[in-house]
């Protein structure tokens, strides 16, 4: 059977499964809609958290980015797992004990202020929309490449599927679909990794194959990769290239950001007991680690395979996948030395890096670009997002594996999108309407509002997907900086300091958010030409600046708090209560 038919069958079957689960687990109360009634088993919640957490960026982009960044790519591996330790030790058990529905709920009650609640809602909506844009774009890429529909149509199909189970099922529907999606995505990630590991190293465990010798030569895979890369002018794969301080700050921003992401935190509101919140964080990280320990192996396999297949190959001899990705504009080849053979070297192949394709074809039938070629010898532009998706084809794996990867990528993108949509809708219907603007609405009206706002959020997310701001992982990285600088410090101080008051928290969140957002927007959107290390504050890139934002948040909060009056007695009682697992919720 051909790849496309197989992909239709596997993706179709997966979608049917998700919808069936959604119909079976419809939400009938706000408690079920927001936190699945608080009755999810810790292992199921761990799986759902893992699927919720591992987005299109983790599944599609991460291994690809690492394969081009080498050791620098470790920032994503450590950054996107280390946050779970913070979450388990500093946040999850206490927030579970607090026992309400949303993150702004905690901030609003703990800081006895609707202004604090509103600031939290604004941070949350800002973070979630930045993040969701990346998911929809991921859905679009998969649809356009594997099902050969237009990217926009792909985004609309994705929206429709999420609409069905998020709007009907709320958190309950999302949780059980995410359990299924975790199984699909981890299977889809592991199968090609195992195949490729066996092909290259003979070791069926990719996490170990990564450190094994090659089958074809008596040399360790990573040593071979370093040699090959040095040969064609790249730095070693196993060395850092960025500055230590930048590596440090990006890792920290991603870790702390993870712990501050509302759609992750809210997952720990769905388990029955404080004890379960702790256990559940452990399960979640274990399920995540299975993919995250495999990703660096996939990265190194893919890079070596890519070089072996592409470099020094005549364009007319390249395999089909090369031309397929070229057709949708994610690979381009410029024959600089007019020999008809592809040279892959370090540096950007084209001026302005991203190719602008013309409708014309060159003498080998390659797509031509408007860009001027750059002065180096590299002839290849490759979008880093495609490495995982192209990997099975590069390694010549059977068609069903390729179809499976498409289904896995969709599961990853859709599960994360659904989780994000839910926190957006609960922030609007619960925090904004019920708790702030219109406390008189009934539960039924609130549930209806929650569904309407979920639907609206889906449409906005779809528009982001059709007009994407930048490529998947980059957009996602910003959400972390913002979460690290605003929400995380407010929650931690709320639990660990009884003295922290509303003024400190509000000014802290605002200063962290404004500082981080300004820094990112300045370097990424207003003056991208200054976005190099010599202009950065202390050599910290926009990706890592969230850490500085967090420190500012803490300092401002502690200073303002020390010159204003302490919180009322009831707040001391709330804090005492959440610190002990026993007693009233």
């Amino acid at each position: 059977m051909d790849v496309q038919l197989l992909t239709y069958i596997i993706v179709g079957a997966a979608f049917a499964l998700y919808i069936a689960i959604a119909l079976w687990s419809r939400a009938s109360s706000t408690g079920e809609f927001y936190v699945a009634g608080g009755g999810v088993h810790p292992i199921a919640n761990g799986m759902a958290t893992a699927a919720d957490w591992m987005s299109a960026a983790s599944f599609i982009s991460m291994a690809g980015i690492i394969s081009f960044m080498g050791k620098d790519g470790s920032v994503y591996l450590m950054g996107w797992t280390g946050g779970y330790v913070l979450l388990a030790l500093l946040l999850a058990p206490y927030l579970r004990k607090f026992g309400k529905f949303t993150v702004p709920d905690f901030i609003g009650d703990r800081y006895y202020s609707n202004i604090a609640r509103l600031v939290a809602v604004i941070c949350l909506i800002f973070i979630s929309f930045t993040y969701i844009a990346g998911q929809m774009r991921g859905v679009g890429i998969v649809f356009s490449r594997f099902l050969e529909v237009d990217i926009n149509t792909g985004v609309i199909i994705g929206m429709a599927i999420v609409f069905i189970y998020a709007v009907l099922g709320g958190m309950k529907g999302i949780t059980y679909t995410q359990v299924a999606q975790y199984c699909v995505l981890i299977f889809a990630y592991m199968v090609p990794a195992i195949f490729i590991s066996i092909l290259m190293t003979g070791n069926p465990i990719p996490q170990l194959g990564f450190g094994s010798k090659l089958l074809t030569e008596d040399i360790y895979l990573l040593d071979k990769l370093n040699l090959v890369l040095n040969d064609i002018g790249f730095n070693s794969y196993t060395d850092f290239n960025k500055s230590k301080i930048d590596i440090f700050c990006i890792t920290a921003a991603l870790m702390i950001g993870t712990a501050g992401l509302p759609h992750v935190i809210v997952r720990f509101f769905t388990v029955p007991r404080v004890k379960d919140a702790r256990t559940s964080a452990g399960w979640a990280l274990l399920f995540i680690a299975i993919l995250y320990l495999t990703a660096p192996a996939v990265s190194s396999f893919a890079r070596l395979n890519f070089i072996n297949t592409v470099d020094n190959t005549a364009y007319t001899d390249t395999p089909n996948w090369f031309k397929n990705w070229e057709d949708i504009g994610l690979i381009s080849w410029t024959d600089k030395n007019k020999d008809g053979i592809i040279q892959y070297r370090s540096g950007n192949a084209l001026e302005k890096n991203k190719p602008q394709f013309t409708s014309e074809r060159g003498q080998y039938n390659q797509r031509l670009v408007l860009n001027n070629p750059s002065s180096n010898a590299n002839e290849i532009y490759i979008d880093r997002d495609i490495m995982v998706l192209a990997n099975p084809e590069i390694a010549k794996l059977p068609n069903w594996v390729i179809a499976l990867v498409a289904a896995g990528a969709l599961a990853a993108a859709l599960s994360t999108a659904a989780g994000l949509l839910l926190v957006i809708s609960s922030a609007v219907s619960h925090d904004l309407m019920k708790k702030t603007l219109k406390p008189s609405i009934t539960e039924k009206q609130e549930l209806f509002l929650a569904r309407i706002s979920a639907a609206t959020a889906i449409i906005i997310a779809g528009i982001f997907g059709i007009y994407p701001p930048a490529f998947v992982a980059q957009v996602v990285a910003f959400a972390f900086g913002l979460a690290a600088a605003s929400i995380f410090p407010a929650i931690v101080m709320g639990i660990f300091s009884k003295r922290m008051n509303q003024y400190g928290a509000i000014f802290g969140m605002l200063s962290g958010l404004i500082f981080t957002a300004t820094y990112i927007i300045f370097f990424k959107f207003i003056s991208p030409e200054y976005n190099t290390s010599e202009y950065w504050l202390l050599g910290i890139s926009p990706e890592g600046i969230g850490v500085v934002g967090m420190i500012i948040n803490f300092f401002v909060a502690i200073f303002i708090c020390s010159i204003t009056k302490p919180p009322p007695v009831e707040v001391y009682e709330i804090v005492d209560n959440i610190r002990m697992p026993e007693g009233d919720k």
């Binding site: 450590m78 330790v85 450190g211 196993t238 890792t251 007991r273 004890k275 697992p581 026993e582």
Partner: protein, 87 residues
Amino acid sequence: MNNEKINKYSYWKANLKIVSILLSIWFISSFGAGIIFSDFLDKIKIGGFELGFWFAQQGSIIIFVLLIVIYCFLMNRLDKKFEASED
């Protein structure tokens, strides 16, 4: 202070101790071994891995999982000792 208050106070103190020890290990394994001392550790090679590179790409993640497991174990024991468990 009455008994209940003393009890709460010592529970919280014990909790903070567990959290700070585990977070120190968290910091040392990721920021320490994976980043700050990574180049130094790279001189040691285990199989095909340079040790610093391994910590940055796999070792730290394995330690993170273990830390949460240990945390759950210690906290459950603490809950029992202080009769603070929910069941």
